[in-house]
């Protein structure tokens, strides 16, 4: 926990895959929070093992990777307790591949923990699309989706596990992590700041 009650960004380590992807993504997210909101922001990325008790001090967590998601017993128990206690985890599939290893294995993990039907597509008018900026068409499309990979496959939805009507696990196959992973000095060349949706995710997590 930090002293001055500022928002801090927590990345979760897990043992099975590659948790340390898209290293500059958090700084671009925090840059946007500073630019667009009045939120107090601790600009240091906080990295904690999912298996540690530390996660229960973190209101916002991020988990990503390309590879296998096979939680250890402690990781599984912590993930479940953290979400059911009202925590928020943004999970982003770095493979941006509908049948990729990360997607398949992570979805299996969620089914094991929360049941087969827990992870559901959320509608395009969900509150998260209006929690700061308005995204009328649901999740904004990434440049890698627009470039024609996967036969023009665009995931026009996000999935989530809701606990008492609030998202506890937000799950994306859109690879926002890669989309937001660049030298922050290059943000000025984007006609439209492509990290704006990250502000919505954080604001939803903190205010819903």
């Amino acid at each position: 926990m930090n002293d001055n009650n500022a928002f801090f960004f927590t990345r979760l380590q897990y043992e099975s895959g590659d948790w340390d992807v898209d290293q500059r993504m958090p700084s671009n997210v925090m840059n946007s929070l500073v630019e667009y909101t009045t939120l107090k922001v601790d600009t240091r990325e906080n990295i904690v093992p999912l298996a540690s008790e530390e996660i229960f001090k973190c209101p916002f967590c991020y988990l990503s990777g390309h590879k296998l998601v096979q939680f250890t017993k402690e990781e599984k128990a912590n993930f479940e307790r953290y979400v059911k206690n009202g925590g928020f985890i943004f999970v982003d599939d770095c493979n941006h591949d509908i049948d990729g290893l990360f997607a398949k294995s992570f979805e299996r993990q969620m089914a094991d923990i929360f049941g087969d039907m827990a992870l559901k597509k959320i509608p395009s008018n969900h509150a998260i699309y209006h929690s700061f900026f308005d995204f009328e068409d649901g999740p904004p499309t990434t440049s890698q989706e627009l470039n024609g990979w996967g036969d023009d496959l665009v995931h026009d939805y996000l999935k989530a596990i809701e606990v008492n009507g609030r998202i506890g696990v937000l799950y994306s196959n859109k690879d926002y992590g890669c989309e937001w992973d660049y030298d922050f000095r290059n943000k000025r060349w984007y006609k439209i700041d492509n990290t704006r949706f990250s502000v919505n995710i954080v604001m939803y997590a903190l205010t819903s």
Binding site: S143, N147, C178, Y182, D183, N186, W189
Partner: protein, 438 residues
Amino acid sequence: MAIFSKEEAKQIMEKALSFSSADSCEINMSGSESGNIRYARNTVSTAGHRSNQTLVVQASFGKKSGTATIDEFTDAALERVVKRAEELARLAPENPEFMGPLDPQQYDDSITFKQSTADITPEYRAEVARKSIEPAAKKDVTAAGFLNDSSSFNALLNNKGLFAYNQATGLDFTVTMRTNDGTGSGWVTRDFNDVNKFDAAEASQVAIDKAIMSQNAKAIEPGKYTVILEPAASVDLLQNMFYSLNARTADEGRSFMSKEGGGTKLGQQIVDERVNIYSDPLNPLVPGSTWTGDGLPRKKTKWIENGVAKNLAYDRYWAQQQGVEPVPFPSNAIMEGGSASLEDMIKDTKKGVLVTRLWYIRTVDPQTLLYTGLTRDGTFYIENGRIKHPVKNFRFNESPIIMLNNLETLGQQVRVDGNLIPYMKVRDFTFTSLSDAV
């Protein structure tokens, strides 16, 4: 023979002009003699010679213009084509952006013509194919290539007495080499005004080596990599950036060079300060015509200096609208490089990807200048200063502007597609997915 001397061309064009009764009349004349040879599956498939000549008349009454074209130059034919242009002009709606013909201009003498290239024979072309096919066959590699050479002239005459004439030669060569097991592919491109600078055996060897080196590529994870881009790989992305250096699209808010809230990015630092790009029709390595199609003189022009956008191209109409002098579109782009060779740059790379070529480039976001495309014909993984192994091709997503902001090193310049482009090492080049294509 479709090549007319300055005097011959002028005589024909003046004859045509004498038939005109329009308010203004502009005549363009061009001709070319070009030869080619094409080979595939290690054997020559076609060889040909083309001879073309054209005369284009644009006649205008007030702001109404008509254009007609012909390829025979008898007096009767010239009269016919002028009359047809005038008939069409009378029928045409007014063009609110019509600019009358230019007054006579002063042009530098161009250096685009080399007799050696004009003298290329079919035997020479066959020899190029042989120098490509034989070494390939010896290495169990199959060559598919194309050589096209041309000698041409262009001339312009209008009713205000402006006359311009230019002769040029050029050759373009590309070859793709495939290993016979189907797993390796290499490619090379060469273009010159002067055939004496072209070495078919050397060029072919580069492609053969790449094909052999790229056999049995391994997949590596897509993501952001430090890349060494060969000039043939970066040229298309850079050209897409050059096209944005256009005043009108910038002023009208339609391009990357438009500023938020109006105005343009002229005078702003847009890329790394080591980037210097200019055009010069008199550069001996990449000479171009010293006048544009509408008769404006082409001079050496700075476009990006120390990373700052220095100039935007203005056509005559837009220059008049903005109250500035026209800045003609360039015939080439010359990007200053450094002294490092490709080998030096590989030696200096801890972890990265060497890219021979990008192709199938398409726009993702025109206003960020974001493009997507694929690597091809030789993509290699570099580790600790050495090429470690070939890698499977990638799809990339990248903007030339962001690329030039992530510049690590500039290497030696190479002529490619009529431009001079350096080898470049760039951080964080975005590979988004794998491609199974060899």
